[in-house]
Symmetry: C2
Subunit: 419 residues, 2 copies
């Protein structure tokens, strides 16, 4: 083993030991520590800004883009938002210890399925230093120990945040930051299935792909959102326009923003001009299929690639479809199974769409932008899973737990027969 | 791509298409097909026996052990058991479509979390041909398409079983058997994350390790059971003896059988002779720590390796511990987090044990052998997961499902602000 691997394995062992202690803390104990963490962040604003200045200066030297530098930047407002976020997590209900189901067997055994922490979680992330606090705190609330591996650009900020969190009285090694930022440290973490129960990569597709190909333990992935809105022939035109504009333009750089609009051919001629006018008023570039361009003659032709592109920008592809079936097939084939909406006054069509579209979130007469842990009422969100196992769609605290079966009896044996 | 990879990718595409059809079948439709599958198995007994004869003859030629040949063998009784198992799955409640939770948000959106099939599942297994039917049928009941990759020794039997299942009216490609049995086919399947949502390896540790290291999609693992029973100082001695004998000897070659007995030192001198006598009457070989051997002088010394060995045989390691804390620490450190039991009349000690032992199943005054989907009342079991994500412990039909969020509204938009 290299020194790097040894260091990371040592952190793994420490995380496991911390996880056993964390699992035994009461909700009140965890919440008191969380409030102390928020306090520590507020007390250390000058240190955090100083550390962040080092990262920003290095970033300028490295020639990072303005957008990258903005993601990296901490200021008093962002630090207060971080602290307020921690305080808010302290107020949320704790899923750990919750009995999910309980039943008694004919032989008298009482079985309980009880939520417990997952154990140890690795978080691999890129340039935003606030992830250090956001992710660690959600894992802490659910009794999990975290090993954080942030990007090199934010290393000083990340260290300062982790150091602040570490003063709040949590069990030792509950939150650890890997001191390395090279790719080898990602590999070492991803291979360490003995000490790490789960990895969550938070970042771009390249990072997720790397983790997926290396990891021996479960990975919860947050891939693209190629989200659709289908205007059925029975759609209310005003609602169709309003939801399309909201889903595309309310915030376009996020995974639940609209990327492709599907329109039933029976209403295309009437609806497309209204939608186009509303979108163009918001500076949205439109790319259309042949049938779309028959109505909106000045629209750029869409290519095959447009149906599988997450623009994250003020661009929308538009396709006219012959039927609900074609809309469903298009979404299941070209989409990313994230969030897809039907607009219709026809309940039977809506129910078919909700049942047949294979996506984490399927919406009827609601903007795609509501696919969000906060909007769902989860109080906090670690991300939106594009996986189907363990957690799908918006992930709250509950999705950071596992369960165990606790069985109580009075001497039940399976039987005398040895087969 | 090689021909093998192309064939397997083609099967993947077909499985995905079949999965969309399967997801739309009603429970009644699926149950009717299941009963037809059972009927097809019963009608084809001669074909199945003939195919099995080819495998057995090849196995004899290859010099397979008697135990291997027994695992491979089909006879009228085993074929009827396979058919009866399918009929029984038809009678179980279908988890698909079940509403897990439903709530209304302040803006009027109604959110439902609904169980849906996972989609496409790969099953990689070894010599038992009945897995072809057992696994495929549980996946079918839950609306999943399966791609089966069985071992080379059972290829004729597997083909005959898959062919029989294929006559029952299921959607085309709902159950597919890979025609290759070499290792390259495992790699091709494990890398195909576009078409396969989950892999379940059913077999020995070597097979699971191979799949884990190759797989890009989630894997549900069924690793060892290094199961413990801890006799607390407040244990009823007769119950302690009875549960130990049951857990060790009722069936010793299975993952929920007892492998290590822990005894509180305050009761070791009185209890160990009784336990030893009862176990020796069942021909169990005992291996003990120093303190055990101070009481049972003729016991073989246990080495460090004994604490981490799954014997799957009539062998038991015994360790005397100073406290409940030491018992919990030993189990969490040396066990496999499968199923661990405390025997005690002290409720506080029992509750601490259930809370602090980090295993899928934690039992109080119940034999470890009850860690089983059937004994839990699940009606069917695809295995016992040693993972913490998605499914932990005995896995029934419910654990073969995912979920999606279905949201219904009346035009809700997120808001006018573009941030």
């Amino acid at each position: 083993m290299s020194t790097l691997q040894e260091t990371i394995h040592q952190m793994g062992r420490q995380a496991r030991a911390a996880a056993y202690q964390l699992a035994q803390l009461t909700s009140d104990e965890k919440n008191a520590i969380l409030r102390a963490m928020a306090g520590a962040i507020r007390e250390r604003v000058p240190e955090l800004l100083g550390a962040n200045d080092l990262d920003l200066a290095a970033g300028v030297e490295k020639g990072l883009s303005a957008a990258m530098l903005d993601r990296l930047r901490l200021d008093a407002t962002r630090i207060e938002a971080m602290a307020a976020g921690i305080d808010q997590v302290a107020t949320l209900p704790d899923p750990v210890g919750r009995i999910m189901e309980a039943w008694t067997r004919p032989n008298g055994m009482r079985i309980e399925q009880v939520r417990v922490p997952i154990g140890t979680i690795g978080i691999i992330y890129e340039s935003r230093p606030n992830v250090t606090a956001d992710a660690a705190v959600l894992c802490f609330k659910t009794g999990n120990a975290t090993i954080l591996r942030g990007g090199s650009e934010a290393i000083h900020s990340n260290r300062a945040i982790a150091a602040a969190l570490g003063t709040a009285g949590a069990p030792e090694h509950a939150i650890q930051l890997i001191p390395f930022t090279d790719r080898e440290s990602v590999a070492a973490l991803a291979q360490m299935d003995r000490w790490l129960d789960l990895i969550i990569p938070r970042g771009g597709k390249g990072l997720i792909e790397t983790v997926v190909s290396l990891a021996r333990m479960p990975v919860i992935k947050h891939y693209d959102g190629i989200c659709h809105l289908f205007v059925d022939r029975a759609a209310d035109p005003a609602m169709a326009v309003s939801l399309t504009v909201d889903a595309k333009t309310q915030k376009c750089g996020v995974c639940n923003a609209l990327e492709t609009l599907l329109v039933h051919r029976d209403v295309a001629a009437g609806l497309l001009p209204q939608v186009a006018a509303a979108l163009r008023a918001k500076n949205v570039e439109l790319r259309g299929c042949e049938a779309t361009r028959a109505v909106l003659t000045d629209v750029i032709p869409a290519t095959e690639a447009d149906w599988t592109t997450e623009y994250l920008d003020l661009i929308l592809s538009i396709k006219v479809v012959a039927s609900l079936d074609e809309a469903v097939a298009h979404i299941n084939t070209h989409g990313s199974h994230h969030t897809d909406t039907i607009v219709t006054a026809d309940t039977a069509a809506a129910e078919r769409f909700l049942r047949e579209v294979d996506s984490a979130c399927v919406f009827h007469n609601v903007s795609n932008r509501f696919a969000d842990g906060g909007e769902f009422g989860f109080g906090a969100e670690i991300g939106i899973s594009t996986d189907k196992l363990h957690a799908r769609g918006p992930m709250g605290l509950r999705e950071l737990t596992s369960y165990q079966y606790r069985v109580r009896g009075n001497g039940q044996t399976k039987g005398p027969v040895q087969r």
